[in-house]
Amino acid sequence: MTEPLTPEQADRLAVSWRDAPGLWGFLTTVDHKRIAARYILTVVLLMFLAGMLALDMRLQLAWPDMGRMTPQLYNESFSLHGSTMLFLVSVPVMEAMAIWLVPLMLGQRALAFPRLAAFSYWLYLGGVLMLWVPHAFGITPDLGWFEYPPLSGPGYGPGHRVDIWAQMITFTEVAALAASVNVVATVLKMRPPGMTLARIPVFVWSQAIAGLMTIFSLPAVMLVTSMLIADRLVSTQFFAPSAGGDVILFQHLFWWFGHPEVYIIFLPAAGFVSMIVETFSRRTLFGHVAVVLSMLGIAALAFGLWVHHMFAVGLPRLGNDFYTAASMAVALPAGLQIFCWIATLWSGRPRFDTPLLWVLGFIATFVIGGLSGVMAASAPLDQQITDTYFIVAHFHYVLIGGAIFPLLGAFCYWYPKATGRLMSERLGKLAFWLIVGGFNLGFFPMHLLGLMGMPRRVYTYSEGMGWGPLNLVATLGSAIAVAGGLVFVANAWWSRRHGAPAGPDPWGGSTLEWAVPSPPPQHNFDHLPVVDSLTPLWTQKDALQVMTGLAIERREVLVTSVIEATPEYRQKSPKPSIAPLLSALAVTILFIGSIFTPWALVWGAVPVAVALVVWFWPQRERARTGPLRVRR
């Protein structure tokens, strides 16, 4: 076949990839776009809930000697806020963007392992419910988002608050690992013909690198929380100093995961920024190779920084010196990227639509967060400011400024692709100014409060400390930012029906997702695109080069070589299935059971095994040969 598909063939292809209608289709879908969309909607809901918790805490701190929250409620609020934002919002939303975008940017119809993506979401949802359903019944973790022993150990953490937190992590980390393997395999083996390593879009690079980081860092937190549960449930002694255990061990393992996690969140954000800057500067990204190498450099350095979260623990001096140097070194590749983005804007013809505004807001805010990070990286300075509001200011500048602002920009940028409608620019700009202005008003004073000595995680303070006015400003700023967030969501809601029709390529983008209609059909592409540059849609202006020959009557994808993306073979792509949901339910039973009894690991494994057999049981004809052949 060397002709494009006829309309009849294209319709037949669409039928092959279509989900079943109704609830069954909802439960069985393996469409990466639907899975990503439910990830994103869940995240939006959680951001709202955890944002409300933040606002509640800010109200408590707005004036000195406030009594509207008890210390216990305050502890629960910041623990739930932090755990939700880190484990259930930041990492999952970046994965969701990968699940949605990577196949589209690679000109593919599916991810490498579609059912694994569905499983990943259901398990993630299990983690969400694990944390929030007990909260509804008054059982809420109350030891912060990292729950150090001995406070979280069997001696000081009775009840199940800690277990819920620890097992929520197991859920979300298994989900994240499943998503990461999926994305990495897709990027390595399912690139379109012509997309050599040198022609991979920066966003796809960022997700592949973040995926690899996930693979090598998340096992640490699963291991350490499992050890914590074991200490609590079956009296192992990992963190019991009296029996040869060590509480610092928990911190080492936690931060082996915890620091790379920051970059697992930041690198995809750098990917968003690179794509937005390129499109809205209307020129190819300045220093593509430098940006990608910077990402790899950040990924490597990220595994050598974890001890900077532990400067105050009392580790050997040489250790502190090394980690100070490594922490400062990471500013170099991060800074290099920023120079590349500025150079692209400088030498391009920038168009200041909302997505680019978010990028500018990101650069300004992230530079402040980066500089306070260089300050905190110095061990002697950190001794003074650790556990103060300076650190609270720093990590919110880095995480909100460095990751959430680019995410909101990305949301505005790809919203028309996902829905077929443009978001309102007027409401978008209003939301931008409210959020960025409110954020800076809310969090900049915290630097000063920290330097004045205000510790984090205090539920109130006395008037004599003199922290009242700045806290009031911080609360005011937070309220403005939350109002901006509501405007942002309202804009997305309203524009879905009333936004201007977007067409396939409203921004003049350079990458393959803009070659398909908005919203994309379930099979994404009728034909296999062929790539000849980093910006295929700009270099193939007249007609997109494509290949034909994938099956029309069934789901099939093209697998290509790792380095050169040379076509290798055609791979069957799995149909929708209920097995991922059943497997996730079985795993949920095992995880929840193992909070109460170690035997759950034994009996709980049986339904998991059954569900996995159903999942992987290949559908082929019965044997006509061998001792167990069908005898007719």
Partner: protein, 205 residues
């Protein structure tokens, strides 16, 4: 038609095969990904063991005997020898030999179940309970971590054997058998550092 741009056909992939084996195969990479995750978990668990060992005076702690060596020696020898049939099954899978993979996976299932006997006895000869001290907790953690991998792969091989005997075997299933054999090799190799820590570190520490 759904593509939003005019297109020019420059090639066709209908002549390409419908399956592949080894590193060309997509699933091979998924398998590598999960080995990387589990390998990281093994490495971190080993690092944890060494960290606590370095923090403790005397290893094992006074009054605790190191684990006995006989049954783990039997298991280790068995695991090594199991690589001979395992690699044979792998070659049969690459050669797309239906009879070979059917009987090979059956044999590997039986062999795996037999290896669970010395593994089971090992638990009774660790000479420490997990709740005695951190050394005991670490010993049990490492051996349970490895045993869970052992059982998972034996279960997988058993299911594969049942399927292979009852169905017509296609190229994708040959690739699955190859991946499963690779995973068994991973389980065998991961035992070397883990077993060394459990059985040799207390004798050297």
């Amino acid at each position: 038609m759904s593509d939003a741009r005019p297109c020019k056909v420059v090639g066709d992939v209908s002549d390409l095969p419908e399956s592949a084996s080894g590193a060309k195969h997509l699933v091979w990479w998924g398998n590598i990904g999960f080995m990387a995750i589990e390998g990281t978990a093994f490495a971190l668990a080993a690092g944890t063991y060494l960290y606590l060992m370095s923090q403790t005076q005397g290893w094992p702690p006074a009054g605790t005997r190191p684990p006995d060596l006989f049954w783990p020696a039997v298991l280790t020898l068995g695991l090594f020898l199991s690589e001979i049939p395992n690699l044979w099954v792998r070659r049969r899978a690459i050669a797309k030999d239906e009879r070979g993979v059917r009987f090979g996976t059956l044999g590997m299932t039986i062999l795996g179940l037999l290896l669970l006997i010395p593994r089971g006895i090992e638990f009774a000869h660790l000479n420490v309970h997990w709740s005695d001290n951190a050394y005991g907790s670490l010993t049990w953690m490492l051996i349970i971590l490895h045993t869970s991998h052992l059982i998972t792969d034996i279960g997988d091989t058993a299911v594969q054997a049942v399927w292979l005997f009852t169905h017509e075997v296609g190229d994708d299933q040959f690739a699955d058998v190859e991946d499963n054999a690779n995973y068994w090799t991973f389980v065998v190799l991961s035992w070397l550092p883990v077993g060394a820590l459990i059985y040799l570190a207390p004798r050297l520490g």
